[in-house]
Amino acid sequence: MNSLIFKTITKVVSPILMIFSLYLLLRGHQLPGGGFIAGLMTSAGFVMIYLAYGCERFDFKHRSRVFYFMFSGGLALSFLTGLAGLFVGGYFLKSGVAHVEMPLIHENWEFASAAVFDIGVYLVVCGVCVSLMTLLGEEE
């Protein structure tokens, strides 16, 4: 799989995938997208990098701790969002919606706490997928 064409494609596509995935994550509450999809897409980007370059370009082996804390942290983030719901809203996982006037662009942005929960989901999905892949890759 170490062909030059694939490497080149990866070089172009994987950043796009990742940026697009962030977009999907943020708009998930309103349009198709969300934590799962975004997470999977980001990991698809990593998968591409991995397939194209192996460990040489992006040192997966030594960054596996990063991915470990990525999914643990994601879990913690979602859990804490839920807990916040418990303390603020009165129920575990109770969500809240806030309308915030953005300072510079003077637009009314809508923030749902559920979106924070979704970020946790994103982190978990992405962290787990990449961890899985690196673990498997090391087995080679």
């Binding site: 470990y68 804390f69 643990s72 942290g73 879990l75 913690a76 859990f79 807990l83 719901g85 418990l86 809203g89 009165g90 129920y91 575990f92 996982l93 109770k94 969500s95």
Partner: protein, 492 residues
């Protein structure tokens, strides 16, 4: 609304996440584990007391009312199982510290263990059929991981069997949920009960009920879905074996009781013969299997299969007395079997094998161990005044009251075999002379949970009246599903 109901899920889940983050701080992990274990015990017990005093509790996660959000419901039955679960789990956790060797193992084990605990508690509390699926998945996934994490050959082998069957059952679960959602258009179990009540005898409902029996029966090791159990129980790390037999197979039993006392109430008659037949076969085959074994953990594993048959017999009577007997059986068997499995682990640590012919002399090495083991043996054999006697007594009484003579006869014959294989095992391990000295000395830390559970089994026999009353109260509650439905659907 009190948050007590969500805490049995929140605390273990939070602890598990915290343990993940505290990957590199063994001391901090130890403190967290100790504190939160005690906290869970306190919460579960106070929850049971609250339910006992105030009736069925419900909790709206996310603040969404039934049937739209996921509702947590605690009735007496789930309260009892929560307490049973935490008793066994605390013993297993304590045991695991002495049982596991390296710190890496402990870190992984405890994180997974608390996920498992959260899933177990969640299964007992959830009032939503799809959430039950998710809870089952977390339980299953943690078991897969805990089973294979030490990477012994036997564990890998048992793992591939368990996960294949687990995936199959998950698929069937989804199929069943799909069917019931298409039929009734809702997922909340109380709501389902209301919606299905007028159409209870629709063929689709029966099909869904049977699929659920298949799925939950696999978790509960009901014949012929029990194939995974002997392998998994015998090869899993001992604390997990104790959890499996003590509480996790009861999760499947719980789910079957729950759906048949809530959603499929009107199908009880239709399924009665079927369940009783399966129960009798399970009892019999389990006992036969146990007689055939030479490996102690496998003896105990098959014994669990057999005992599951007893529990299903109690369920199959579909009477308040029968269900009460089944619930008491669950409690009592959970404690006794956990104690026996942990005792087996003590032996495994000493000689590295579970073959009974390799063991012996325990009477000389540790009379205390012999005593604890013997208490377990006689309790499971149903000798009074241990709790095991009351579990069998109630079951037989319920069966005779309901004129189910054949199942009762099978139960009686099988209980003889139970006593026989257990006594044989005890003799081989404690009385037989063994030339070889054990490789490792007996670790007294491992004995503590064994003793606690064994003594608990004894106490449960001497002071059985309150527990029996509680089990029967839970059973009466189960047979008045209106209480459950009102608690969920009514004004909250």
């Amino acid at each position: 609304m009190s948050h007590l109901l969500v805490l049995p899920i929140l605390i273990p889940l939070g602890t598990a996440i915290l343990l993940l983050l505290l990957r590199f701080q063994p001391m901090a992990r130890r403190i967290v584990i100790g504190l939160s274990s005690l906290l869970i015990v306190a919460v579960n017990i106070s929850l049971l007391l609250k339910i006992n005093a105030e009736g069925i509790q419900s909790y709206r996660t996310g603040g969404w009312a039934a049937p739209y959000g996921i509702i947590l419901v605690g009735d007496l039955f789930s309260g009892i199982l929560l307490v049973l679960g935490c008793v066994i789990a605390v013993c297993a956790v304590y045991y695991s510290f002495a049982y596991l060797k390296t710190d890496a193992q402990k870190a992984l084990f405890h994180a997974l263990f608390f996920f498992l605990w959260a899933g177990t508690n969640g299964s007992f509390l959830t009032g939503d059929i799809f959430n039950l699926f998710v809870m089952f998945e977390i339980v299953l996934m943690s078991i897969y991981a805990l089973l294979t994490m030490l990477g012994e050959k036997k564990q890998i082998e048992a793992g591939i069997k368990l996960i294949s069957m687990g995936l199959l059952s998950s698929a069937l679960f989804l199929v069943a949920v799909g069917g019931i959602y298409a039929f009734a258009g809702t997922l909340n179990m109380a709501d389902l009960a209301v919606k299905i009540k007028p159409h209870a005898h629709h063929p689709l409902v029966s099909a869904v009920a049977m699929l659920f029996i298949g799925v939950f029966g696999l978790k509960a090791a009901l014949m012929p879905m029990h194939f995974w159990l002997p392998d998994v129980h015998s090869s899993a790390p001992t604390p997990i074996s104790a959890m499996l037999s003590g509480i996790l197979i009861k999760v499947g039993v719980y789910a079957i009781i729950r759906i048949f006392c809530l959603i499929f109430v009107d199908l009880q008659g239709h399924f009665q013969t079927f369940i009783l037949t399966l129960a009798c076969i399970t009892m019999f085959v389990g006992a036969m299997g146990a007689v055939a074994q030479t490996d102690l953990k496998r003896v105990l594993a098959y014994s669990s299969v057999s005992q599951i048959g007893y529990i299903f017999m109690g369920i199959g009577f579909f009477s308040v007395a029968g269900m009460g007997a089944a619930i008491f059986y669950i409690i009592s068997h959970g404690i006794i079997k956990a104690s026996l499995f942990l005792a087996a682990g003590v032996l495994k640590k000493m000689r590295g094998t579970m073959e009974m012919s390799e063991h012996g002399n325990m009477m000389k090495i540790s009379p205390i161990f012999t005593l604890f083991f013997l208490i377990g043996v006689f309790s499971l054999g149903g000798i009074p005044p241990s709790s095991g006697f009351f579990m069998k007594f109630q079951l037989i009484k319920a069966g005779l009251d309901g004129a189910f003579y054949l199942p009762v006869a099978v139960a009686l014959v099988v209980s003889l075999f139970t006593l026989f294989y257990l006594i044989q095992a005890w003799q081989k391990i404690c009385l037989h002379t063994q030339e070889k000295a054990p490789e490792n000395p007996l670790n007294p830390h491992l004995l503590v949970p064994v003793g606690v559970l064994a003594l608990l089994a004894l106490v449960l026999g001497f002071a059985s009246a309150p527990v029996i009353d509680l089990a029967n109260a839970a059973s009466e509650q189960l047979f008045t599903p209106e209480l459950y439905i009102n608690a969920v659907m009514g004004k909250q």
